[in-house]
């Protein structure tokens, strides 16, 4: 017995050491790969962050997100406790274990296996203050981890207790890693308990050790001690060896992800190093499954973001591409992700990388002429404002106050355009209807389909036309256009507003007055206006003044997708309808007179499936205008 204290070595540490060395090597290789795939500017950011004060923020964030799992606590307490007890408990076991060595065996610090198998190599006594404190702490955190593991097991059977309707299905690699993780701590507990009559132990290990001692009297004393330590070591090895191919890679990569994010690195238009870290940071917790309407309404479980990241990781490009082409990019999964993986951007990048330009110049015609069939439109006026084109018969070009861009989808819902024109007229605003007789697409649908080159051509042409009007304010009716006008266009000196923002401005400035009707209505937040652009307040402020606005459980960030986004070009209409029907049913569970939205695409989607009255906010306001 004494040689083990003297040697501080036993063959059972070998499996652990194999795993340990393997994980270290993997970490180095992964880190080098990530940095290699980053653009130079991002690498500099990473280096600079190391020496900045923001590093403390990063440490705090890592502590809060990776160990305490604060975001998951906010979702569900049980789920939060499960995650943080395992992560934080394990971390504390490692930390306290190392401190313990500094106290009792400072000369063993350089042995990497020493803190892991400490109780086997070291005798302590619980009667000393130091010993009792460490015994207590170590047992306390072990109990914490064990309770977390117990909950993890229960979660596999009763996930509703944890606020989840669905959870991920595990493949063999995840199963192997998970079961070995589940084994590590009970085995450690048993090993320490069996050893506790020699090494001493805390309230947990010593108490159980005494119980086992009683059993032990019937058989060869201490026969189980070394097998238990062997089993513990092997469980650790299996876990480490399976780590790179399992969901648990996130334990390592999430730390890196938080570091990179705090260093100012953002997802870019290419799936580079940062995207790689994001993909490996997906813990397959499955929190994105319930929010995904493809999963909940259209039985498309295989299209969920959690499966998408997995397919990208396993380089199953076909399946990943399919999921990207189905995704409506409503952002509900991004909102739900506790790690902050922007899977929508990952999908967009994947699509963009897959576009094959058979006709690279197919939007060249927009350069030549806005609309070859028409010479009398607003477009023609604007685009031919060169001296030779401005024929004397043409009306004098004025500079309007506001330029109105309805967008293609609003052309398909003419009631919205009509309403907007009436509102402009009622407010006495000098406006020009830029795409009244047809315009050029804003470019967002192409962008969502991954065709960035085509999109850029349209953006350039539209920018030219909008700036040529000289207007200082641009109002658009379609949130899809609004998003790209705001984010991508460079319209210097032009304020871009969605009509919900603009109408509210008109109301608040007293330019239009409305009366309130007794109509009962609910408001549906369009994805592109709500989650993508953060406009939640304005439509509600308007609606409070014109009708009896009711609440649904699907407001703001929890809003549902109408199933008709410009993305998701791969999804069949049948599936889109299933999503639309389900969303409409949920929102009108308490009957209302009208469902109001602020997007022509949402309006069409809902109008095409049911008999409920679906209207745009502009139509509602137009109806309630008080004309002076």
């Amino acid at each position: 017995m004494h040689e083990r204290f003297a040697n501080a070595y036993d063959p059972f540490v070998i499996p652990y050491m194999i795993g340990y060395v393997f994980v270290l090597a993997y970490l180095v290789v992964a880190l080098v790969t990530v940095v290699k795939n980053l653009p130079m500017s991002d690498r500099k950011k990473m280096l600079r962050h190391l020496f900045s004060f923001k590093l403390f923020v990063t440490i705090k964030d890592i502590f809060a997100d990776c160990l305490l799992h604060v975001k998951i606590w906010k979702k569900n307490k049980m789920l939060g406790y499960m995650h943080s007890s395992i992560a934080f408990g394990w971390f504390m076991l490692i930390l306290v274990g190392h401190i313990e060595i500094f106290f009792f065996a400072p000369h063993r610090v350089n042995l990497p296996w020493y803190p892991i198998f400490f109780r086997y190599f070291m005798m302590e006594t619980e009667t000393s203050v130091g010993g009792s404190v460490f015994f207590f702490l170590m047992d306390f955190f072990l109990l914490m981890v064990l309770s977390g593991i117990a909950l993890a097991m229960i979660k596999r059977i009763r996930r509703r207790l944890f606020g989840m309707k669905r959870t991920t299905r595990l493949k063999w690699n995840d199963q192997l890693a998970m079961y070995s993780l589940w084994c590590i701590f009970p085995l450690r507990f048993l090993a320490e308990s069996f050893t506790s009559h020699i090494s001493g132990g805390g309230f947990l290990t010593r108490s159980f050790g005494m119980l086992f001692d009683w059993f032990n009297q019937f058989m060869n004393n201490d026969a189980l001690i070394r097998p238990m330590w062997w089993a513990y070591s092997i469980a650790l090895m299996v876990f480490f060896l399976t780590l790179p191919w399992s969901r648990f890679t996130h334990i390592l990569s999430e730390v890196l992800l938080i570091y990179m994010r705090n260093a100012g690195i953002r997802e870019s238009s290419k799936n580079n190093g940062y995207a790689g870290v994001e993909i490996f940071s997906c813990s397959r917790c499955g929190l994105c499954l319930d929010p995904c309407q493809m999963v909940s309404s259209a039985s498309l479980r295989q299209m969920a973001s959690v499966e998408f990241t997995r397919n990208v990781r396993l380089r199953q490009n076909k399946q990943a591409m399919e999921a990207a082409s189905y995704c409506l990019m409503c952002d509900r999964c991004v909102q739900a992700c506790p790690v902050g993986v922007n899977s929508v951007q990952l999908k967009l990048n994947l699509k963009a990388a897959d576009v094959k330009y058979t006709y690279p110049n197919r939007y060249d015609y927009v350069e030549a002429e806005a609309n070859p069939m028409d010479t009398g439109s607003a477009w023609a006026d604007i685009l031919h404002r060169t001296p030779e084109a401005a024929a004397p018969t043409k009306k004098v070009v004025r500079t309007p106050e506001v330029v109105y861009f309805a967008g293609c989808m609003s052309h398909l819902t003419p009631k919205i355009e009509q309403a907007m024109v009436r509102i402009f007229e009622a407010a006495g605003v000098d406006f020009t209807f830029l795409d009244k007789d047809g315009g050029i697409c804003c470019g967002r649908p192409l962008m969502l389909a991954g065709d960035r080159t085509g999109s850029e051509q349209l953006v350039a042409k539209n920018t030219e036309a909008i700036l040529a009007t000289g207007a200082k304010v641009m109002v658009c009716s379609c949130p899809i256009c609004y998003k790209i006008f705001k984010d991508t266009y460079k319209l210097e000196g032009v304020q871009v507003l969605h009509h919900t923002e603009y109408i509210l401005q008109l109301m608040e400035a007293g330019k239009i007055t409305v009366r309130k009707s007794s109509q009962k209505g609910v408001y549906h937040d369009p994805c592109e206006l709500g989650r993508h652009s953060g406009i939640y307040r304005q439509p509600r402020d308007i609606l409070y003044r014109v009708l009896n606005l009711q609440q649904t459980p699907y407001e703001g960030k929890d809003a549902l997708c109408c199933g008709h986004s410009m993305a998701g070009e791969g999804m069949p209409y049948k599936k889109r309808r299933m999503i639309a029907r389900d969303a409409l049913r949920k929102m009108t569970e308490n009957p209302v007179d009208v469902l109001v939205t602020a997007c022509p695409s949402c309006k069409r989607s809902f109008a095409e499936i049911g008999t409920e009255e679906i209207r745009d906010i502009a139509e509602i306001v137009c109806d309630q205008l008080v004309t002076r």
Binding site: L412, P414, K436, D437, Y573
Partner: protein
Amino acid sequence: MEDVIVVIGGGPAGMEAALSLAGRGHKVYIVEKTNALGGHLARWDRLFPQQDPAQEILNDMLAGIKNADDKIEVICNAQVQSVKKRMRGLEVMLSNQKMILADAVLVCCGFDLFRAERKEEYGYGIYDNVLTSADLEERFKHKKVLCADGRVPEKVAFVHCVGSRDEKVDHTYCSKVCCVTAVKQACEIKELYPQAEVFNLYMDLRMFDRYFEQMYHKAQSHYGVHFVRGRLSEVSETADGRLQIKTEDTLLGRPMKITVDMLVLMVGMQACAQTEELSEKLDLKVSASDHFFETKDLFLKGNYAHTKGIFLAGACTGPKSLPDTLQDARSAAESIHRYLTA
């Protein structure tokens, strides 16, 4: 003892089947939800392919029913409340509390026209000069087809396949009669106003039946109707109340913009609003693909429902032209007769 048959629906199929069954000595009750017999036929002016007046055909059928009043009883303003299986036959309860013990039930509930408002981009219900094919037929009855401001239309465009072969509105099927109706109505416009220019915007012209192809040729050679292969993308109103329509001539590969005085939407057929309710009451199967009733097969049991004693005829089993509907009704009568005398 005479057999009793309840016919649900008093349109052409229901009337023709009733006449046929009465001729074989059966007692027939026609249950009609509106206040008169005739169905969609009563709304139509003239019928393809030979411009026969709809009213004459309807009158002939009504006269036949009147002559057989000992055998045919018409119950208007009534609907089927419930149908229960009894030892012999079926107990049919009507909404007016009348109970009929029937040996067989024939469902002829027909079709509904597609609600053109669902395609907002075509402007029906928004712009005054956008009509449906049914609205136009109503105006043909009065021999006057004028714009909202009372002008004679100079340019008229017909849009084919509105609510047919359109995945977006969950109608993936062809309604069969709209192509030829559009050709008929285009010719009628030219007869009424020879100066008018008429466009037909189609995606396919399905001139499948007898005399249809000839009508189509006559429309071009005699009446000078324009046929443009392309779907309508959007409609907007001009300052003077005309309609600017955007489409693409897919044969020339060219976008097109035409300003017209009147736009006619060729609305397709869809399963009638009562389909779901009836399918529950009578235990009928509804096709998941087109939402019309399913028959036992499409050949020898083409009028048999999956439930014993219940039969189907007319456009409730999918879009049909009037001649097809009438033949289907007669074939249903034959099927019921065989079933009752077996």
